[in-house]
């Protein structure tokens, strides 16, 4: 399944809305979009995963990449991730580095 990526610039945050699978084949596209952002100066990054069915280790690496490039006090939100994706993120320990919310209203 392909991956659609939409980047929206807010006042203090950037929202990346994803649709499809984030896997070995599509994760480089996400990484490319993340690299194009000025992550080092970003207060808040929101990854909207409501329309994402699958995130492989390559997808997790892209999320880790973003978090590592962002300032220490910044926040990376994962919005609307499925139960399976949250389970993977929790088991890999990545949940300690990101904030998992069900919808953007919770931010």
């Amino acid at each position: 399944m392909s991956l659609t990526i939409e980047v929206t610039q807010g006042d203090i945050h950037v929202t990346i809305t994803l649709s499809g699978d984030v896997d070995t084949k599509t994760a480089p596209d996400l990484l490319s979009k993340l690299t194009a952002l000025e992550l080092h100066a970003l207060e808040q990054l929101r990854l909207d995963l409501q329309a994402v069915e699958f995130v492989s280790s390559a997808g997790l690496r892209a999320i880790v990449f973003a978090k590592q490039k962002m300032p220490h006090e910044s926040a990376l939100y994962l919005i609307g991730a499925s139960e399976q994706i949250v389970d993977t993120i929790t088991k890999t320990g990545l949940a300690q580095a990101v904030r998992i919310v069900n919808s953007a209203d919770e931010i």
Binding site: F54, S56, Q84
Partner: protein, 146 residues
């Protein structure tokens, strides 16, 4: 242990076939494992395995004339009253190998025995190529369907 073959696929181990191979596994997982969490975990493991094999095949093949293909098969196994979904991968490597054929009749008889031996060895190395298929690594991953 009773088993039921679900299908198999073989394709060149390259990113061009990544979708084809992963779609094949995902579809069978979707058909055979009702539990979404178990199916997702098996898909994670399968995707990782296939991606690693394709990546390794790319590195193995860099700069060399090898023909590497990936064979993936899936089956259902029954063990101790439980049903297991089993994914098996095998790597097939065809290597272009020098075959030793001589040009011994062309070696002049006037040269010394030592020179004849050297010329003989050289003629053996001046060879044509044949393809020798080899069976390589095999991986098996499984997940309970229950």
């Amino acid at each position: 242990m009773a088993g039921q073959e679900l299908g198999s696929i073989e394709a060149a181990a390259s990113m061009e076939n990544w979708d084809k191979i992963n779609d094949f596994i995902s579809e069978l997982i979707g058909q055979s494992i009702a539990n979404a969490s178990r199916g997702y975990k098996l898909r994670l493991a399968s995707e990782e395995l296939v991606s690693n094999i394709i990546r390794a095949a790319g590195e193995l093949n860099s700069g060399e004339d090898k023909d590497i293909s990936l064979q993936v098969s899936a089956r259902l196994e029954q063990e101790n009253g439980k049903s297991w979904f089993v994914v098996k991968t095998a790597i097939m490597v065809g290597i272009l190998t020098h075959i030793l054929v001589g040009a011994i009749p062309l070696i002049p008889s006037s040269i010394s025995a030592k020179e004849r031996l050297a010329a003989w060895g050289f003629s053996l190395l001046s060879s044509r190529l044949i393809r020798l298929p080899m069976t390589g690594l095999m991986n098996i991953i499984s997940m309970s369907c229950g």
